[in-house]
Symmetry: C2
Subunit: 202 residues, 2 copies
């Protein structure tokens, strides 16, 4: 019999599902479309950068793992790192990549199978933000490739999606409604989600 | 302008929404029916007793509060405390009440408006469990009354609800599906949820 899968999803407001009238975001929709029964924990916090996530990651993930279970971690951040405040980006991209590497290394040590979902765009943060976030996403993808951790790119796909951009602009400028979260769900599901779920953990 | 409301929901598998095919449980459904925009965090962990919740409560709630926001806390536990293991209940009821009192005292000190949702029944744990849980729920209600913290009773209402019991018995013996969670949502919404949301925090 296959082991129980327990997944902690850690990240920012997009993980949290801010703006979704159904209050489940892409995480809840992806789980609903997952045939296997999964115990899931949503650890998204709005405005969180990679620094914020790293700071709380293990103290929050630890009580959500179970010895003997197939414990996993889905990580998604970066959109807040590349936001400009007072003329400078919040977190330097090299630092963000170090933070991701640190989390992936620790996951490996804890025998937790990891997956990374790339940073969605923040539409009202403009072209500069989109350029920085796309570049960061590419670098995250390369880092994940080196470690054989699956990476799901979202930045460009969402920035050019009419449902995502329309809902975001009708909302708070950053977060979509149910249509946008459904689009992000589709991106995750049609990437390597199902293989990742089927692949037994460590 | 009224302040942003941020609510952490902390507790056990019922808070987490285990068994719900839509992956949002009563917490997501209650939020969807709440007219005000609320930033919510689901901190439910299956099998958690009041001890487990107390242990992690403030370290997890702290990074989810924002200075100046209307920060609130919804607490729901007890169903695991009253489970019998190896011939004794997991957590003595007096201890469970102390744990609740401790969390409510700390909420007060942190100026976080609190609300308590009583423990749902665990159908396949039998009559003894239902009797213990109902008694514990009454004592929790009395403790909340003393502190003028709203308490929403769920134990008896769910134990006698045909949708809840049918879904639970068709499932894992403890957790319902979407119908049961909708029933629990109705109990919360028709109690004092809306007044609690409308009432400005500290």
């Amino acid at each position: 019999m296959s082991r129980d899968i327990r997944i902690s999803f850690i990240g920012d407001s997009f993980v949290q599902g801010i703006g979704d009238p159904e209050h489940r975001g892409w995480v809840g929709r992806v789980l609903q479309a997952t045939p296997r029964n999964v115990t899931a924990f949503n650890l998204g916090i709005r405005r969180n950068s990679s620094e914020d996530v790293l700071r709380r990651c293990w103290q929050e993930v630890e009580p959500r793992t179970l010895p003997g279970a197939d414990n996993r971690l889905v990580i998604s951040f970066g959109s807040n790192d590349t936001i400009e405040e007072d003329g400078k980006v919040r977190i330097d991209p090299a630092r963000c990549l170090d933070n991701l590497a640190s989390i992936l290394d620790e996951s490996e040590q804890r025998a937790m199978t990891a997956l990374v979902v790339g940073p969605p765009p923040v539409i009202d943060a403009g072209e500069g933000h989109l350029r920085r976030t796309s570049k960061l996403a590419d670098e995250m993808a390369a880092l994940c490739r080196q470690r054989q951790v699956p990476f799901i790119a979202t930045t460009q796909g969402l920035a050019s999606d009419p449902t995502w951009t329309r809902e975001v602009m009708a909302g708070d400028g950053a977060h979509p409604g149910s249509g946008g979260y459904t689009k992000l769900t589709d991106i995750v599901l049609t990437s390597l989600w199902h293989e990742w779920i089927a692949h037994p953990g460590h």
